[in-house]
């Protein structure tokens, strides 16, 4: 790594941590119903929304009501996205006259956006109408993020309350997350991005002349529009000359902003934030990357504030940051070291002042190695899944890092809300084992962790690996699964494993070579996303309810402090152990073998 490389990483991490406190403080006030600067503008809107929908914001919900409300709301969202995609051909704001989307792909995308996964089975600029993008996808970007934040806040209330059976009001948490947190931040980010060159228009795609025309071959179509075949059954090709390129544009900035901030990740364009009109400059890249971890990081502080001990939040943030930084320093050098196969071909892969060098396949020049590898770690640490480089073309180790970050459960920052509640589940397991080790019934933040909490925490930790391993196993067993694999050998296995790691942990990034837009993958991945999202959210709410009903155990000498370096180490250890032990065999057969083959190990 070059010194500039270190510097960029450090600036990123420092900025992220510096923003955690102010934003975390702001969010805590939002969730505690206190007034914030934006009240004068937003409070009337908020009140109006409650009045129209018949919600009494003072009314508290039991965890079961909270969960049912959440499920109903998300189901509605998924249905709406599904319907918009199916019907987009006959709806307005479709200047390119894109046709309706197949049922399996529409299901996949609906599940994907409702679950905050934002796996892109489709290619944005050639599939989705502007209406689908804004009214379907952008809306879900907001509300699926707000849903995750609501579940987190409910869980926090479980810790702070005692002897009550309610955990807040889902409608209020949802509305306030959207109105006071996600919308203002998105608005600011969207405008800055637009200033950097991210498009924001409802005009149709722009045709521009090419300086040099290109000719290419394409299958010749008969008069009936069917590809012609020669006697041997091969398609008849014709040569075509392209004199212009059609530049896809659209209302991208508004969607890109929330896609990053809400850890959604579903891009406006096919190649996501590698696209120059979605992520045009190093500055836009920095801001988009910062936005990914901004809220998940700050929520740690919110958590600490709400439980009345900010050290608790800092401890978790520290654990996340440590794992994150270490993995960055694995991924960046792995990419920087380049591809040995090319080194033999008189290719200059070394870093210098005039080139970033390294493994540049699938990467953009303006981002180079550092920002591409850093982004890959950021986007998979969070369950964002947007990309600014093609992960499929990463070196085996460079690609394993993001894959493993997803596999450990999207808890290193993770999704907005979901990352922290996932991490708290790991904390529950960690305090359970450590509680036993000091001879005391385990407790976390003054709440005893008993069989019921263990059962629910176990489910949340169990479901994602089941989805990932089970889905991958199924896919490599059947022909339709194997047929979609693009790269040969162990790397092909990595593609399938990556796809299910992504869907099974609601990340959304991909080893893009795999042709996942097939009925088989659309269905299976869609189901994995739904399971992983709601089979986690509901048990977490169950824990919230159970904790809220408990007494609070006062801190004593025998209490294990959960803000110390020891606990941080323990928490990291728990996350890494579960992640490592579960995925070592699968990773051995994918990236590990590929890496050993690549470096020519004997």
């Amino acid at each position: 790594m070059t010194s500039n490389s270190y510097f960029q990483v450090i600036v990123y991490v420092v900025t992220l941590l510096a923003l955690a406190k102010p934003l975390g403080w702001y969010m805590a006030r939002v969730y505690e119903g206190e007034s914030v600067g934006l009240n004068r503008l937003l409070a009337p809107i908020e009140r109006l929304m409650y009045r129209l929908s018949g919600v009494n914001p003072k009314e508290e919900m039991r965890w079961t009501d909270y969960a049912v409300g959440l499920l109903v709301f998300n189901l509605l969202g998924a249905l709406a996205v599904f319907a918009l995609q199916r019907l987009q051909a006959s709806l307005p704001f479709n200047p390119q006259h894109l046709s309706g989307i197949s049922p399996d792909s529409a299901f996949n995308t609906a599940a994907s956006f409702a679950t905050n996964t934002n796996w892109q089975g489709y290619s944005g600029e050639v599939t989705m109408s502007y209406l689908t993008q804004i009214l379907g996808l952008t809306v879900q970007n907001f509300v699926s993020a707000a849903t995750g934040m609501a579940v987190l806040v409910a869980l926090i209330r479980g810790f702070t309350r005692r002897n009550v059976d309610t955990i807040g009001n889902f409608w209020v948490d949802l509305t306030r997350s959207t109105l006071y947190i996600l919308m203002p931040l998105s608005l600011i980010l969207a405008l800055v991005l637009a200033g950097q060159g991210v498009v924001q228009t409802f005009n149709s795609y722009q045709a521009v002349p090419l300086v040099e025309t290109v000719s290419y071959e394409q299958p010749k179509l008969g008069v009936d529009g069917v590809a012609l075949q020669d006697a041997g059954g091969k398609p008849v090709m014709e040569s075509v000359e392209a004199k212009e390129q059609v530049v896809a544009v659209g209302p991208a900035a508004s969607q890109v902003a929330i896609k990053q901030l809400g850890t959604n990740g579903g891009g406006f364009f096919n190649v996501n934030s590698a696209h120059p009109l979605e992520n045009p400059t190093p500055l836009s890249n920095f801001l988009e990357m910062l936005s990914i971890l901004l809220i998940p990081g700050a929520l740690c502080y919110t958590f600490g504030m709400m439980v009345g001990d900010t050290r608790q939040g800092w401890a978790i943030l520290t654990a996340m940051t440590l794992v994150f930084v270490v993995l960055v320093f694995i991924a960046v050098p792995a990419e920087q070291s380049g591809n040995p196969a090319l080194a033999a071909l008189s290719v200059d892969q070394s870093a210098s002042i005039s080139q970033s060098g390294g493994n540049m396949e699938g990467k953009e020049t303006r981002f180079g190695i550092t920002n591409s590898a850093l982004w890959a770690v950021v986007t998979t640490a969070a369950s964002n899944g947007s990309v600014n480089a093609m992960h499929d073309s990463f070196t085996p180790i460079g690609g394993m890092v993001p894959m493993w970050l997803m596999q450990i459960g999207e808890v290193i920052f993770g999704g907005v809300g979901s990352g922290l509640y996932g991490m708290i589940m790991f904390a529950i397991v960690a305090v359970f084992v450590s509680g036993l080790m000091i001879g005391r019934t385990p407790e976390y933040l003054g709440k005893k962790i008993e069989a019921y909490e263990m059962k629910m925490a176990a489910i949340t930790i169990l479901i994602p690996p089941l989805m990932v391993l089970g889905g991958t196993a199924l896919a490599v067993m059947v022909e339709v699964g194997k047929a979609s694999v693009f790269n040969p050998g162990a790397h092909g296995f990595s593609e399938v494993l990556y796809a299910f790691s992504s869907a099974g942990n609601n990340n959304g990034s991909a080893f893009g070579g795999i042709s996942a837009n097939t009925p088989f993958y659309n269905t299976l991945l869609g189901l994995a996303m739904l399971f992983s999202r709601f089979w986690l959210a509901v048990p977490v709410l169950a824990i919230a309810g159970s904790l809220a009903a408990k007494k609070k155990v006062p801190v004593g000498l025998g209490t294990l402090p959960t803000h110390t370096p020891l606990f941080i180490a323990l928490l990291i250890g728990t996350v890494l152990m579960v992640g490592a032990l579960t995925f070592v065999p699968a990773l051995a057969l994918g990236p590990v073998v590929e890496h050993l083959q690549m470096i020519g190990a004997k």
Binding site: F7, V211, L277
Partner: protein, 192 residues
């Protein structure tokens, strides 16, 4: 379940209007007002007001007299700005090695005297397939070929490359880079 249906439906509609209509509308309005060029694709025009391309979207170049950009994996032709795509070739995929070999071959044919190792970004496909830029090293590598073809002094091209080189944003962000389309347009301008 039923009692949650009403707030769910109404709130969903309200939030959809808020985040799916009002929010994009505000952003569009402000962006069109504040950054009209950027918001519409950063299109460049020549002196006659004719569009010459987007400063953010690369174009395919293969003639010896132009600087070449990053290889592009878009279909059906390179730099198809209507369908962005990377190659997705894995690092151990033999197809990647084959493709790289072919690109090196093409560069060598165009400039047989150049024995320097090829800068990696010049023979690897970009992520988007639309990458407007190459590294300064990749530009430098091509100066001799273009100069020879165009029959102009390399120093002039050197200066032109430098003029079209952006250094790291704020001195540290991203990587130094040369906008190929702008460079070629400037060069074409020069020759006229």
């Amino acid at each position: 379940m039923i009692k949650h249906l009403k707030p769910a439906i109404i709130l969903f509609v309200l939030l959809s209007v808020l985040t799916g209509v009002i929010y994009p509308a505000i952003v569009t309005g402000l962006a069109q007002l504040l950054f009209p060029s950027q918001a519409n694709g950063s299109l460049m025009t020549d002196n006659n007001g004719k569009t010459t391309g987007s400063s953010l979207i690369g174009q395919p170049f293969s003639s010896f007299g132009h600087f070449w950009g990053r290889p592009s994996a878009t279909a059906p032709f390179p730099y198809n700005a209507g369908a962005s795509s990377g190659s997705n070739l894995g690092p151990t995929n033999p197809a990647l090695v084959d493709a790289v070999k072919a690109r090196i071959q093409a560069l060598k044919i165009a400039d047989p005297d150049n024995k320097a190792p090829v800068p990696v970004d010049l023979i690897t496909a970009s992520g988007s397939g639309l990458d407007p830029q190459i590294s300064p090293a990749a530009a430098t590598y091509q100066i001799n070929r273009v100069a020879k073809t165009r029959n102009i002094r390399p120093e002039i091209l050197r200066a032109l490359v430098d003029a079209n080189t952006e250094s790291r944003q704020w001195g540290f962000l991203g990587e130094p880079r040369v906008n190929v389309l702008k460079l070629n347009l400037a060069m074409d301008q020069l020759s006229h």
